[in-house]
């Protein structure tokens, strides 16, 4: 059941990224480029995605997930250096290539060799993250 739900969810996500044009790096960079020919599409995608999710979060109240267990607890509103530094590094890479994790996977079948190289580099980055995270934690604890 979990597998079927995950496949359905991934399919909706992939279809959404595809039809919205978010796997086109020109549209993403066009939205980020305030000095260029600004492309508003990304804002519509974000808005369109947040609406069903607001409803979904409301529906979690007093309920359990379909497969059982419990919903993710509200996050600790902790604004630490990992959140700020990580988001900044991510954003820089996102702007540089116009790809973020979801679209890089969604476009694997048609993104060519460049898309494959991006995903491999992203995986490499994900491999070096855990020790870096631990280091940031220990530095934070010492300070």
């Amino acid at each position: 059941m979990r597998i079927v739900i995950a496949l359905l969810s991934g399919g909706l996500f992939g279809a959404g990224l595809f039809v919205s044009g978010m796997t086109d790096t020109r549209k993403v960079q066009g939205w980020l480029d305030v000095l260029g020919n600004w492309d508003p599409t990304l804002a519509f995608v974000m808005g369109g995605a947040i609406i069903p999710m607001v409803i979904a979060w409301q529906l979690t109240r007093g309920r359990r997930p379909l497969v059982g267990g419990s919903f993710p607890a509200p996050t600790d509103p902790l604004l630490d250096r990992k959140l700020i530094l990580g988001s900044t590094l991510f954003g820089a890479g996102w702007g540089l290539a116009g790809l973020c994790p979801g679209p890089s996977i969604a476009s694997l079948s048609y993104g060519g060799i460049g898309g494959v190289i991006f995903v491999l580099a992203m995986i490499a980055g994900m491999l070096v993250a855990p020790p870096l995270r631990a280091r940031l934690d220990s530095v934070g604890a010492a300070a």
Binding site: V4, F13, F18, A43, P65, G91
Partner: protein
Amino acid sequence: MEQDWIWGLVGGGLIGLGGAVYLLGNGRIMGASGIIGGLVDASGKDTAKERLAFLAGVILLPVLLMPLYDTPISTHVTDNWLVIIAAGLLVGVGTRIANGCTSGHGVCGISRFSLRGIVSTVFYILAGGIAVVLFRHILGVI
């Protein structure tokens, strides 16, 4: 071009629906970097099958939808491998340090009014905007 925002809204709705299915069905947050990262560093090996099923769906649907389009769809990604590798590394390490990306912190975080999600989104959009302006308009690399 003027239809782009409508397709943006439709596609966004599908993305949000995907997140809703994952949340209400499996009780999990649909964050692409978390789903991939948990496989990469083995922190999510207990849920490896559903992570792989999710990613299979993400790859498969564009393949199925592609024939409906008259013109071939391209990512128009740069052919400068150095830029691609640098960007990939930054995205990989950054999302795993921040524990989320556009889907997790952005779509799923903002919709639950999470302060972390909102702050993360502000920072990655600012950094992305600065990167595009710097590398496109000032350095002319992209």
